[in-house]
C-alpha cells in the first residue's frame, strides 16, 4: 500500500525524471507509444514490493522503462502493423513526425535501441550503459555492434 509520504516522494521523483524517461522511451518505442510506456513503467516501479528499498530511483526507473518497452514492443505487434498500413494509405502525418527516422530505428531491437540511445545520446561509457540496462558491458558492445551493422547501409 502506498503511504501518503510515499505518494509525496513519488510525486517528486516523477517530476524529477519524467522528462528524461519520456525521451528515453521515445528512443525505444517512438513518440506515439512513449507516454504509455512511461506511465506503465512508473506504475510498475511505484507499486513494486522493492520500491521502498530502492536507493537509485533514476537507475531503477530506466531499467523499468526498458523492461516495459520490451513487453510493449511484443504485445503491440498487430496494432503497429495495422497503423503502418493505415499510415501508408490515408494517414496525414503531423509535420513534426519524421517517419524516416522511425523506420530506421525500427530496424533495431529494443535492447539495441537502448544501447545506442544511452551510448550516443547520453554519452555513457559501456560500463555505465551496462549498469543502466542491467546487463554486462560485453553484451552492450554486442548490441552496439549489431545496431551499427543494421544501421550500416542506411547511414553509409
Amino acid at each position: 500500500m502506498i503511504t501518503v509520504t510515499g505518494v509525496m516522494d513519488n510525486e517528486q521523483i516523477y517530476r524529477d525524471h519524467s522528462q528524461e524517461l519520456t525521451r528515453y522511451a521515445t528512443g525505444l518505442v517512438g513518440p506515439f507509444d512513449a507516454p504509455d510506456v512511461v506511465t506503465d513503467a512508473c506504475l510498475k516501479a511505484f507499486e513494486s514490493r522493492h520500491w521502498a528499498e530502492v536507493t537509485n530511483h533514476r537507475a531503477y526507473l530506466y531499467r523499468t522503462v526498458l523492461s516495459v518497452a520490451n513487453d510493449h514492443h511484443r504485445r503491440t505487434l498487430s496494432r503497429r502493423l495495422r497503423e503502418m498500413k493505415t499510415a501508408a494509405r490515408d494517414y496525414v502525418a503531423p509535420s513534426e513526425v519524421d517517419f524516416d527516422v522511425l523506420a530506421a530505428i525500427d530496424r533495431l531491437s529494443i535492447q539495441q535501441r537502448a544501447a545506442v540511445f544511452l551510448t550516443y545520446w547520453e554519452d555513457l561509457t559501456p560500463d555505465r550503459v551496462a549498469d543502466r540496462m542491467g546487463i554486462s558491458s560485453g553484451t552492450v558492445k554486442r548490441h552496439l555492434a549489431r545496431a551499427r551493422k543494421r544501421l550500416g547501409e542506411l547511414l553509409s
Binding site: 516523477y14 522528462q19 525521451r23 521515445t26 512513449a34 506511465t39 505487434l77 498487430s78 498500413k85 547511414l155
Partner: protein
C-alpha cells in the same frame, strides 16, 4: 560527417519528436479508480490461509499495473492495451473479460514429410478472453481458443488449457519466464512436450528477442523435471535447442501484407537450401509459384524470406503453400505446409467484429 555523428544526428531527430511527459499515473489512479482484487481461478484453494494468499499472490506475481484489476470510472478498462483501435474502446463494453489481439505461435503437421514433427506458424488473432484482465497475455488467448475450439483450421495448439505464462523479465541474454504449476505436467507426451516448448520459446523470443535464451521457472525456481520424460529445463533454452523437433520448413513471422506485398519468412532445412512457395486460390488451384533460396540447407538450418505480390492473393480465400521438391522424385512435393490468409491478415475470433474496424 563521421558514422557516429550520423547516429547522433539520427537520435537528435528522434528525440526532437519526444512528446510531453504523461501526467503522473499515480495521481490519476489515486483519484479515479476503485480497486477490485479478483484472483484467478487457478489460485483458488481451500482454507483460510489460501484466502489470504488469494488476495496477495496475484498482486505480487502478476505484477499488475495497479495492484489488481482496476475498474476505471471514466473509461472502459475491459479492453486490452493491445486493442487495435484505441478510439473504439469507449464504445466496446463487454460485461466480462477483454479483447486481446496479437500474434500466437501455433502449429500444423506438414504433409509428405519423413519427419513426424510440427511446423510452427505465428498468426495474428483477435480473441475475447473471458475473465481476462488487462494483464492477459498470449497464453490466456490460446487457452480461450482451445476452450472454444475456435483455433482456425489447419492450426493446432499443444499448450494445455491450464498452462499460463505469469510474467517475464530480461536479465542480460536470459529471458526468465515464470509459469504456473500446470506447465510442469507438459503436454501429455514426449512429442507434444517438445512442440509445446517450441511454441513457447518462439513466441516468447519473437520480435527482436530472437537471440535470448529462455529460463522457465515455476514458483520462481528453475525446472528440473518437465513433462513426460522429466526433462531438465534448469538451464536456459533457445530457439535452436529443440529445433530438430520441428518440421523442415516452418514460419517465424506472421504473414501480412505491407506496401503491396505479402511477406513470408521462416526457417528451413531443405535440399540445397531451396524451397518453393505457391499461392492457391479458394478452390485450391495454383495461381502462382516461385522458388526461394534459404541461407542454408542440406542438413543445416537456414532462414528464408520471400515476398508475394498482393494482387495474387484474395484474403479470406487464398492460401500460401510452402514446400520443397523431393531430391529423389523431381516433381514430388515434400514437407508441405499451407497457411490460409485471413481477411485483413488477422483471424478475428471475437463475436464483435467492430473491434478490428479501422477508425
Amino acid at each position: 560527417m563521421s558514422y557516429e555523428d550520423k547516429i547522433r544526428d539520427l537520435l537528435e531527430r528522434l528525440v526532437a519528436m519526444t512528446p510531453e511527459p504523461p501526467p503522473n499515473p499515480e495521481e490519476i489512479t489515486m483519484t479515479r479508480r476503485a480497486i477490485v482484487r479478483r484472483p484467478r481461478p487457478m489460485l483458488i484453494f481451500a482454507g483460510a490461509a489460501a484466502l489470504v494468499a488469494l488476495l496477495a499472490v496475484p498482486i505480487i506475481l502478476l505484477g499488475g499495473r495497479t495492484g489488481g484489476e482496476v475498474v476505471d470510472t471514466t473509461t472502459s478498462t475491459l479492453v486490452s492495451p493491445t486493442t487495435i483501435v484505441p478510439s473504439e474502446t469507449t464504445t466496446t463494453t463487454p460485461t466480462v473479460g477483454i479483447t486481446w489481439s496479437g500474434y500466437v505461435y501455433v502449429y500444423q503437421m506438414p504433409q509428405n514429410s519423413f519427419k513426424n514433427d510440427p511446423a510452427l506458424v505465428p498468426i495474428l488473432v483477435v480473441v475475447d478472453v473471458e475473465d481476462g484482465d488487462e494483464d492477459a497475455n498470449f497464453s490466456d488467448a490460446l487457452a480461450q481458443m482451445t476452450r472454444d475450439g475456435s483455433l482456425p483450421e489447419p492450426f493446432q495448439n499443444s499448450i494445455p488449457e491450464a498452462v499460463r505464462v505469469i510474467n517475464t523479465s530480461i536479465d542480460g541474454s536470459v529471458l526468465t519466464v515464470e509459469m504456473n504449476e500446470a506447465f510442469l505436467d507438459g503436454a501429455g507426451g514426449l512429442l507434444a512436450d517438445f512442440t509445446m516448448l517450441n511454441q513457447l520459446i518462439y513466441q516468447l523470443t519473437h520480435q527482436g528477442l530472437e537471440d535470448l535464451k529462455v529460463l522457465f521457472t515455476v514458483n520462481s525456481e528453475p525446472i528440473t523435471e518437465f513433462g513426460t520424460d522429466g526433462l531438465d529445463l534448469s538451464q536456459p533454452v533457445g530457439r535452436d535447442t529443440f529445433i530438430e523437433d520441428l518440421a523442415l520448413i516452418f514460419v517465424t513471422s506472421p504473414i501480412v501484407e505491407s506496401q503491396g506485398a505479402y511477406h513470408v519468412a521462416g526457417v528451413s532445412n531443405t535440399f540445397e537450401a531451396v524451397l518453393a512457395l505457391r499461392v492457391l486460390d479458394g478452390s485450391g488451384e495454383v495461381v502462382h509459384e516461385q522458388f526461394i533460396q534459404a541461407t542454408d540447407g542440406s542438413g543445416t538450418w537456414g532462414t528464408y524470406e520471400a515476398t508475394v505480390d498482393a494482387n495474387l492473393i484474395v484474403p479470406g480465400e487464398s492460401s500460401i503453400m510452402l514446400f520443397s521438391y523431393s531430391p529423389e522424385g523431381g516433381d514430388r512435393l515434400i514437407d508441405v505446409i499451407e497457411v490460409p490468409i485471413p481477411v485483413d491478415d488477422v483471424w478475428n475470433l471475437t463475436g464483435r467484429p467492430e473491434a478490428v474496424t479501422s477508425p
